[in-house]
């Protein structure tokens, strides 16, 4: 019986899980191997006797060095970081206040506003990039970070409002009521009682917003034109792929380095993130 159960656990749990994780992670592994492979090996025939497609015996850091010294990659990193941080802060600020109002206050049209914020979240950038391109041009913001900082909130605000609203609803009302009996104003109770409790929710909304703006592609592709102004996702694809010449090693190195901040943010905050996603004060 016990043996059978263990066998079942392997078939229904461990094996599918392992397969899935391998499938998920393989592209990253492939990126890594390609990034540290010397050029000679990258272009060697598949049929060569010495070919080792899935690993390399002479790892090299040349591609990383080239990337950092010969391209504007460090500049892209900084651009992306700056843009992602500022737009995340703006959206979190707006989302926090709006989310609180929608979750806690009774006011006319609250339901309508909540629904319309939800609907704006679903409006895809594909619908907006053409008019925004014209607006950006008429305000002469094209090719500056502000073009992105002002447009990213289009998807960040609805998203973070919605997430934080859900989170605020999980915090018991009594906490706030106690504070108000003790003489705090509603605004004071919000700042001193509710926001500190909501930190996991705020962090996970922040992580989400940061990731979304770090990864954003369409607006960055449309609004930025000169190489030194670009963000990592656009820069890597558009500047390192020139015609039919591909700097594969550098591309992969760029792909790896370009997402280190996001990967770090995730691994540090995974606990917060999971609680933020599954609700706060449970039970």
């Amino acid at each position: 019986m016990v043996i059978e159960r263990r066998w079942k656990k392997w078939v229904y749990f461990y094996i599918p899980l392992t397969l899935f994780v391998i499938g998920t992670l393989f592209p990253f592994y492939w990126m890594f191997v390609t990034a540290i492979r010397p050029d000679a090996e990258l272009y060697r025939s598949w049929r060569a006797a010495t070919n080792t497609p899935f690993w390399t015996l002479q790892p090299t850091l040349d591609h990383f060095r080239d990337l950092l010294e010969k391209t504007t990659f460090p500049q892209w990193l900084w651009n992306t970081f700056f843009i992602a941080c500022v737009s995340t802060v703006i959206s979190l600020f707006c989302g926090l206040l709006a989310g609180y109002a929608l979750a806690r206050l009774k006011f006319p049209m609250a339901g309508m506003l909540g629904t319309s914020i939800f609907v704006t979240y679903l409006v895809p950038p594909t619908l907006l990039f053409i008019p925004l391109a014209d607006i950006i041009r008429s305000f002469q913001l094209g090719n500056t970070p502000w073009a992105l900082i002002l447009t990213y909130p289009t998807f960040l605000i609805p998203f973070s409002t919605w997430l934080l609203m859900g989170y605020f609803k999980t915090i018991p009302k009594e906490l706030e009521e106690c504070a108000r009996i003790d003489g705090a104003t509603r605004f004071g109770a919000m700042i001193r009682i509710i926001f500190p409790i909501a930190v996991p929710g705020i962090l996970s909304a922040g992580i989400f917003a940061f990731t979304l703006s770090w990864n954003e592609f369409i607006y960055a592709l449309v609004f930025l034109s000169s190489p030194e102004k670009k963000t990592v996702p656009v820069g890597v694809v558009s500047e390192l792929i020139r015609g039919d010449i591909y700097f594969w090693g550098q591309l992969m190195a760029g792909a790896l380095l370009g997402s280190i901040p996001v990967a770090l943010v995730y691994s540090f905050f995974v606990e917060y993130y999971v609680t933020g996603l599954t609700g706060s004060v449970k039970g």
Binding site: F13, V21, P27, W46, A98, A101, G111, I130, V236
Partner: protein, 292 residues
């Protein structure tokens, strides 16, 4: 009475920053787009004149539009089915407590968290290597086989769909996992007593309980596929091998500067989105009830 007024004022004060930004960067652009789609605004000609429905008529008469629409619909159906199946399976596996859970969680989340703009490069390298790489022969043979049975561009379609599923599938998994966690465990305990097989349990208990989450996942996948521009653009290196509506609108508007026509193309997504939204709202209660 006085209290209510203060609450209302506070509420609007708190909503103000979000509303101002949303109106400035969303409502105004959408209005601009609707208006532009009725004009012949283009960087090629001076001024803009009202042309009525001419842009829409031109679009509907264009066989390319119907082709792009068909491709978009197939793309949506294929990727959504795969993502839901994969996501649900993964969510069920992840819902079980296990020592490796945090690690697996991270692994599952990585494809979504990692910038699509750069992982797409890895996929491009895996699936469409150019001639002078070590294994282009292998990938080339594969591409040739797919293209010759399903028609030109099929391999590119397969690559984009695979990438979409890889990226979105894990997001769906995490999303559905959040849904599973929100369901009281007692319900599953009863279900275990009442049903005979795990399959029955899945069909009659888990899936119905997850319905709101599944609906939202389908909708997000819907907007993702219909509005997809980035994935297609990146994975085919800007060469439009098979068009979806988004890529063509980009091509018309940004590359050729024909804003009027491009606006009409983008707006052609609106009826579809509205329809999907309607179905979604029918299918589950308003979003306010959804635990985040």
């Amino acid at each position: 009475m006085k209290r209510g007024g203060a609450d209302t004022r506070l509420a609007y004060g708190l909503m103000a920053p979000a509303l101002v930004l949303i109106i400035a960067v969303m409502a105004y652009p959408v209005a601009w787009e609707v208006w532009t789609s009725f004009t012949n605004f283009s960087v090629r000609s001076e001024g803009r004149a009202f042309v009525g429905l001419a842009n829409y008529r031109a679009m509907l008469g264009d066989p390319l539009f119907w082709w792009a629409l068909a491709v978009t619909i197939v793309y949506f159906l294929v990727t959504t089915t795969a993502k839901l199946a994969l996501g649900l399976g993964m969510a069920l596996l992840l819902a079980r407590p296990s020592r490796l859970r945090a690690l697996v969680f991270l692994a599952v989340f990585l494809p979504w968290a990692y910038p699509g703009g750069v992982t797409v490069v890895a996929w491009y390298w895996m699936l469409n290597p150019p001639l002078i790489t070590s294994y282009s022969l292998v990938a080339g043979t594969l591409k040739h086989a797919v293209d010759s049975t399903l028609g030109p561009g099929a391999w590119a379609f397969v690559s984009v769909a695979l990438f979409n599923v890889w990226r979105g599938g894990s997001f769906t998994a995490v999303f559905l996992l959040a849904g599973l966690n929100a369901i009281p465990t007692e319900l599953f305990d009863y279900a275990a007593l009442e049903t005979r097989s795990a399959w029955q349990r899945l069909r009659h208990v888990t899936v119905p309980l997850l319905r709101p989450f599944l609906a939202l996942a389908v909708f997000l996948s819907f907007t993702g596929a219909f509005a997809d521009l980035a994935n297609v653009w990146m994975l085919t290196g800007g060469r439009i091998v098979f068009p979806v509506i988004g890529t063509y609108a980009y091509w018309l508007g940004i590359r050729q500067g024909q804003f009027g026509e491009a606006a009409a193309w983008s707006l052609s997504l609106v009826p579809l989105l509205a329809l999907a939204l309607l179905v979604l709202f029918r299918w589950f209660d308003p979003p306010a009830e959804r635990p985040a």
